[in-house]
């Protein structure tokens, strides 16, 4: 077993929300509201945040309507965040090294 795969399997064990038995690309760092997180390259930002235990993505327009992933397919616009300063649907943006994600 090569080192990368071994690492991937370790990641799967380490995170209770990442399903085991799936081989994933190596994890890369990105930030959410200044906090450094790691996720497999290519995973949707919304999934990466969910796996990191972050479900409330922002406070949204008022306290009754926080930002959160709902449809995961780019329809509902509820998971809006800022990626490198621009409004984006976190369910459609793949994680890349160095993405700067902030609440919208």
């Amino acid at each position: 077993m090569d080192a990368a795969r071994q690492r991937d399997m370790l990641i799967g064990v380490a995170n209770p929300l990442r399903i085991a038995g799936i081989s994933r690309p190596a994890e890369v760092p990105f930030t959410f509201n200044g906090k450094i997180l790691h996720a497999p390259s290519g995973e949707a930002v919304a999934s990466a945040l969910l796996a990191a235990g972050i479900r409330r993505l922002g406070e949204g327009p008022d306290p009754t309507r926080p930002r959160a992933a709902l449809c995961m397919m780019g329809v509902c616009q509820q998971c809006l965040v800022r990626v490198d300063g621009r409004l984006a649907q976190s369910c459609l943006v793949p994680v890349r090294t160095g993405l700067v994600v902030t609440s919208a």
């Binding site: 929300l17 399903i19 969910l50 479900r55 992933a69 709902l70 995961m72 329809v75 509820q78």
Partner: protein, 477 residues
Amino acid sequence: MSFDIAVLGAGPAGMAAATQAAQRGARVVLLEESPAPGGQVYRSPPTGFVIPADADSREGDALRAALMQSGAEVRTGCRVWGVGGGPLVPQGEASTPFRLDALGADGVPFDVTARALVLCTGTHERIIAFPGWTLPGVLGLAAATILLKAQGVLPGQRVVVAGAGPLLFAVGAKLLKAGAEVAAVVDLATRGEWLRALPALAARPDLLARGAAWRAALTLAGVPVLNGHRVLAAEGEAVLRAVRVVRLDGTDAQAIEADALCIGHGLVPATEATRAFRAAHRYAAEEGGWVPVLDGDRRTSIDLLYAAGDGSGVRGAAAAPASGRLAALAALHDLGMLDATAHNAARAIPAREFTRAARVGSAMARMMALRPALVTVVAPETIICRCEGTTRAQIDAALDDGATDMNQVKQYTRCGMGPCQGRLCGETAAEIVAARVGGREKAGFATGRLPLRPVPMEALLGDFDYADIPVPAPAPI
């Protein structure tokens, strides 16, 4: 770029339509929003992810492989925000080729034109509003399948699965297999409704067996399946902590601890594009809602405009490829690229396949049809439109003030005017309006408007700058 046929949406219907048309020599372009073809049921994981194969992924892979060999030009990751051409020309002028405006995967705007357009735009999920549905941790059933199948991430560790239709059991079983605890399956349908649906499933024993396996897995794991129940509320402070459920007759309320609620009340055909073209529509609850009026070969009321797959009436992924092929063959025939004899011979097999698969699909779509009783119980303070924060009380007030259809309710309250363009609130709002004005036909639907998807202003403007604004010369004094 100019093509014979443009196909919008690369789900099972779109992939099959593009493949069929390209194999028969047409110049075809297929546009898709996701990074890869597949649609939602056959959605493929991101590059570099290897997820163990199942029946769905094998069917999806077969459609993808045929598409890639067909010669169709496939453009993925592009957001189609504009449709035009065809009948959308100044009054009295002849129709023109169809035009699609899109934002490319690279962020660069582009457009394509085509003589014929096949719309395979799929569905979005219906979630009837309930207290707490804005809490983080509440997701759609379809969202759960995407997380499980294409992302390899669990929506939560202890999950309640709720709503209607076969997706309930698909998601429940997949959650178990992926290692989550399923706290309960909360099914609107009674056991009797499922039993009555069984005979139709006999047309596709493979699908029946898959459904039976899902249910068996849940039973084996001791997951409570609450038939004839609905979700009363999602509860928690910052995020979901518990789901309160109740029997449909209002008895036996109970709270179930969970960190995720996956809920869906059926699928709604995405008809933004056919509405924008002002094609004729009809309301068919048992097909998911408003659908374009079609002939047996998927022709809409607009010349050279076709619709296939669930976006033209929910019939399920198994029926979608055949309907896509029928649309492609009709387009080829109408463009003069396939003569009547060849068309008749070629359409026989997909027509038969569609009829058989649609029998199962129809039975399942009926299970997922909107249940008006679910809307009747929505409380005044419940948020219906999440984008604009419109509550039921505000919609009721608009109706009291004289609003008579969906467009007016939208204008009075801003319900459906936010960035999701009514895709999330439209069903609940329309049912509230329908109950007051006498049916969904009278309530109508919000007029289809561009952009079909939110796009940055710069994509619309292109290199048009402030200095380019034509300023007429001032009139002489």
